[in-house]
Symmetry: C2
Subunit: 278 residues, 2 copies
């Protein structure tokens, strides 16, 4: 497995793959890899000849009061997992090699990023779009795989690819969950034993929504209230509970099959997100 | 010569060139081609196996009170000139095929675009960066050629390529002038005979700056005043006269060899720009 630590090394390799018509798949991650990430690598392997995994905790997508500094990192374990998962190359840059001190060009999305996490994390999706555009230009992938866990992010990346005409296929892979339903997340490591139990509220509230919608269309306001109640009963502090159109991410008045339910909630100090296509 | 009218046609062709390792050059233009544009095509031909000329009056880079509607267009003549100049392909999209009605992703530059034309034309360079990023992803060039006439634009595009890691070499070709010194511009067609004469003030003010700096370093404020006086004597209304650092585009206190002098001035209703590396 190849290891690149600078943008130049990755791009040079990618140009060489292109010249040989090797189909490249990219899996952008922030590391601390779990089974969710491994499923993305497996998906990329199905669709490409060579798979690059990028591991980069991107400072530009973190707010000043967020967890950039304490975000979990374990390079040795991540490299072992990538190797096991059959990655061709891993890209492990530092912020200093990714951003010039006078970096001044950014990619912004002005519609899908207005609500949900975008409203709570100003600048987050600007950071995400910018770093993903950079990774696209460095790894020159034919296909890139993102997780549905970050539903809004995946929608925004698809929009970026459409609006900036990147010649890249975007694949969104399903959420991988623990056996009790908790969505896999690098941030789950922050949870105490009690919080870990409370965290089940998210997937349970989404399951509740799915059950209700399976019975027939639901007035959104009433369904949201039921979900909020369940979250609060799990000692979670709700950041948002939304029922939105799957493409436009705009709130729907009535939840129907295909509507997406999204939750962000604080479990202790840890902010968790989860979602489900109803 | 190939003619493409949709993004899909161009990108499909570009991907086929890439698969055959054909080196592609791109010359983005707004059409109404003059000798300045032809010099860019010639430059691209020297550096690439196949040259794409894009002709697109990009609505996103025009302000509401600017000349988008009346900007001169002559498709038949442009195609003939491209063919003569040895272009491999011309890309002639409409705004409707370039921008989805709900387009929401843009590329912004937040430093080099603050002054000069950026300060006078809000949103202009956001439109330029966005359309050039799209053209890069559609034509997939190895090299792209821009004119020094739009000095600030060229600096911003180089910055975009650096900050977003596009695998593209940017070449900036010298300004082509009429025999009397007026910089070639599609907008020169707007000028009456009298205005055409007055327009010489721009290149003369730049020549004056070059002469002064050739004698020794010049205090910028004094030199600017001399240039402004010359422009006003030519019946030009000054939009800006600036002496800036060639890379950062920040005003310098003292003009020296390598300083860039830039002018924007209204000649009647027509806004003209010109510049010179002193």
């Amino acid at each position: 497995m190849l290891i690149f630590r600078t943008p130049g090394e990755l791009q040079q390799w990618a140009l060489a793959q292109r010249a040989r018509n090797v189909k490249v798949g990219l899996v952008p991650t922030m590391g601390y890899l779990h089974e969710g990430h491994l499923s993305l690598i497996a998906e990329a392997r199905k669709r490409a000849d060579a798979v690059v995994v990028s591991i980069f905790v991107n400072p530009v997508q973190f707010g000043p009061n967020e967890d950039f500094e304490k975000y979990p990192r374990d390079e040795a374990r991540d490299l072992a997992r990538c190797e096991e998962a059959g990655a061709t190359a891993v890209f492990l840059p530092t912020p200093a090699v990714m951003y010039a001190p006078d970096a001044s060009v950014f990619v912004v999305e002005e519609r899908l990023g207005q609500g949900l996490c975008g409203a709570r994390r100003p600048g987050h999706f600007r950071g995400v779009c910018t770093v993903v555009a950079k990774l696209f230009n460095l790894a020159l992938p034919d296909v890139a795989v993102f997780g549905q866990k970050d539903y809004q992010q995946a929608a925004i990346i698809k929009r970026m690819v459409r609006d900036l005409n990147f010649p890249i296929e975007i694949v969104v892979a399903p959420i991988v969950r623990e056996t009790d339903g908790l969505a896999k997340s690098s941030r789950n490591v922050y949870l105490s034993a009690e919080e870990r139990q409370n965290a089940l509220g998210l997937s349970r509230a989404l399951a509740l929504a799915a059950e209700e919608v399976a019975k027939g269309p639901c007035e959104s306001q009433a369904l949201r209230q039921k979900m909020v109640r369940l979250l609060e009963q799990s000692a979670l502090r709700v950041d948002y509970v939304e029922l939105v159109d799957a493409e436009q991410l705009t709130p729907v008045a009535e939840a129907v099959p295909g509507t997406v339910a999204l939750i962000a909630a604080f479990c202790g100090k840890t902010r968790l997100i989860d979602n489900r296509i109803l």
